[in-house]
């Protein structure tokens, strides 16, 4: 159960004067059960990359293999692939269309050709896992709040029971509580169901708290691909690209500069708390 990208290139509007080389020679392997954070500034090719992973965009050049099969081969079953590789778009609440929430969540599994009972069971489970209240199952998706809409949209993808779940900026435009809820949900799915997660984000704090592997993109190429601690050591490079390191890393760096004996590569708040407390008790 892995995904491999070999020298993938993507060019938009080729042979015009506004052609964009969105992906440049991307080579990548995504293993089973990984939690990957994908970061980069706006327009660096993150969204283009993730749309390649379930065959929505075919590469201009290069190959993508899912379990060893080329997903752009003519006889490859792309519908099944889209069931296995779930993609939650940016602002997914804009794709809701049914009369009620439950029917909307049923759309995905129904398209997979499952029987009615299985479809409804999956929809029920998915809505439950995102913490959507039972009594609102039959209300119109257009009357919900922004956060609730987003949950329904994510449930719509979860109901297809994907093995790999890709989320493009799932926390954009949510309040802190909503953000926390969504991230916790994703992390639960990863822990309990061993789902492979790819989290596309602008927020360094989000990815630092949850991701085990971090991929940084810049102008269509992969710049770093490592564990967060290692990636966030390149503070100056990241800032040059308009990115940053997590808040807590800045704090630790400034502590160290002021003569305290701390590890300045820490990226998680819990680790930082531990170190600072230790420092405090030694005093």
């Amino acid at each position: 159960m892995s995904m491999t990208l070999e020298h993938v290139n993507c060019i938009y509007s080729a042979d015009t004067n506004h052609s964009v080389h969105a992906l440049k020679d991307i080579c990548l392997t995504i293993g089973d059960g990984e939690f990957i954070g994908l970061i980069g500034h706006t327009g660096c090719g993150k969204s283009t990359l993730v749309q390649h992973l379930n065959g929505l965009i075919s590469p201009t050049d290069g190959h993508i293999y899912y379990n060893g099969e080329d997903i752009n081969a003519k006889d490859f079953n792309r519908k099944e692939l889209r069931g296995n590789v779930g993609l939650v778009f940016q602002y997914p609440e804009h794709q809701l269309f049914e009369n009620d929430v439950f029917a909307d969540v049923c759309f995905g599994p129904k398209n997979l050709g499952l029987d009615k009972k299985e479809v409804e069971l999956r929809a029920y489970e998915a809505l439950h896992s995102v913490g959507f209240p039972d009594e609102e199952f039959y209300s119109s998706p257009f009357e919900l709040s922004g956060g609730q809409k987003r949950r329904v949209a994510i449930a719509g993808v979860l109901a297809m029971k994907p093995k790999i779940l890709i989320l493009d900026e799932p926390t954009a435009g949510l309040d802190p509580q909503g953000r926390e809820d969504i991230l916790e949900l994703i992390s639960d799915l990863h822990r309990n169901e061993n789902m492979t997660i790819i989290l596309v984000s602008h927020s360094m704090d989000d990815v630092a708290d949850y991701a085990e592997r971090l991929i940084v993109m810049d102008h269509g190429s992969i710049l770093y691909d490592d564990v967060p601690q290692e990636v966030f050591k390149n503070v100056r490079e990241l800032e040059r690209m308009g990115l940053a390191v997590p808040e807590v890393t800045y704090i630790m760096r400034s502590l160290k500069r002021n003569g305290y004996e701390v590890d300045d590569t820490i990226t998680k708040i819990d680790d930082a708390v531990e170190q600072i407390l230790k420092l405090w008790s030694e005093k």
């Binding site: 004067n17 379930n54 997914p92 804009h94 269309f97 759309f107 995905g108 398209n111």
Partner: protein, 266 residues
């Protein structure tokens, strides 16, 4: 997918044609269309084609890009040729059963196709080289005299520019929603016509919702900036004729005169 629609889009480039006053381009397009229907000889069509080729060269828009824009109208072109060929009575060239292809029909069909190609290419050259904003500005200025008979010229121009501005936005939105639904296993391409029409529902509902939301936001934003319609409104960049515009006018009228002369002489 939908990104491939190029007809009516602006192609950004630095050229003489791009810099011309939009009023000149509008008038020139009208004159050009008249010219297409004035000429009726091979020499005449050659003149029009030459004029168009010169304009395309000057505009620096790649020929490939223009040809791509012709693709969607290909079916209409083919139908025109076929119907003209079959339904025009005259001297028989070929005969298969009841199908009768006449010499006159062949001629009428190919003339019609040629005219249509020249027409579409010429007018799309105008939209390719003029930004929608400029285009509506020019239109507003040209139609200005109609104000005296109570035609809301400014409002019409404003509606047009908003409509034009929304085309790429909605196309992009369609692309995103389509992909999002395909990611949930939707199938827009296979099945019979009823199945396909039904498959459009998950695309159309969110598209309408978002179009209304955007329209609402835009109305709010205009209101917030105290938009009150055209009365007493000034322009940041008023249109002004320059020397090149007068030269362009001279060329286009000369071109029409040339076409008329060819028609009379040949």
């Amino acid at each position: 997918m939908v990104r491939e629609i190029t007809i009516g889009q602006y192609y950004d480039e630095e050229s003489v044609i791009h810099r011309l006053d939009p009023r000149v381009k509008l008038v020139a397009t009208l004159v050009y269309i008249v010219a297409i229907f004035v000429v009726d000889s091979i020499a005449g069509y050659a003149l029009v084609a030459l004029f168009l080729a010169a304009c395309i060269m000057l505009s620096k828009v790649p020929v490939k890009y223009i040809v791509k824009g012709l693709k969607p109208v290909m079916i209409i072109l083919l139908l025109t040729v076929v119907f003209n060929m079959l339904l025009t009575p005259g001297e028989t060239l070929f005969k298969f059963g009841i199908i009768n292809i006449s010499k006159e029909g062949l001629k009428a069909g190919s003339t019609m196709a040629l005219r249509l190609i020249l027409l579409i290419t010429g007018s799309s050259l105008m939209t390719l080289t003029t930004t929608p904003n400029n285009l509506t500005d020019g239109m507003e200025k040209l139609l200005n005299p109609l104000k005296y008979i109570k035609v809301p010229v400014h409002e019409i121009a404003m509606m047009m520019s908003i409509a034009l501005r929304f085309i790429p936005i909605l196309l992009e939105e369609t692309d995103i929603i389509m992909k999002a639904q395909m990611a949930r296993g939707a199938d827009f391409e296979s099945g019979n016509i009823f199945k396909r029409a039904k498959a459009m529902v998950p695309l159309l509902v969110p598209l309408f919702v978002s179009a209304f939301r955007r329209a609402n936001d835009l109305a709010m934003a205009m209101e917030a900036r105290c938009y009150r319609g055209g009365d007493g409104r000034t322009k940041m960049k008023p249109l002004k004729y320059l020397r090149r515009d007068y030269i362009a006018y001279a060329i286009i009228w000369l071109f029409l005169a040339g076409c008329i002369v060819l028609r009379i002489l040949l």
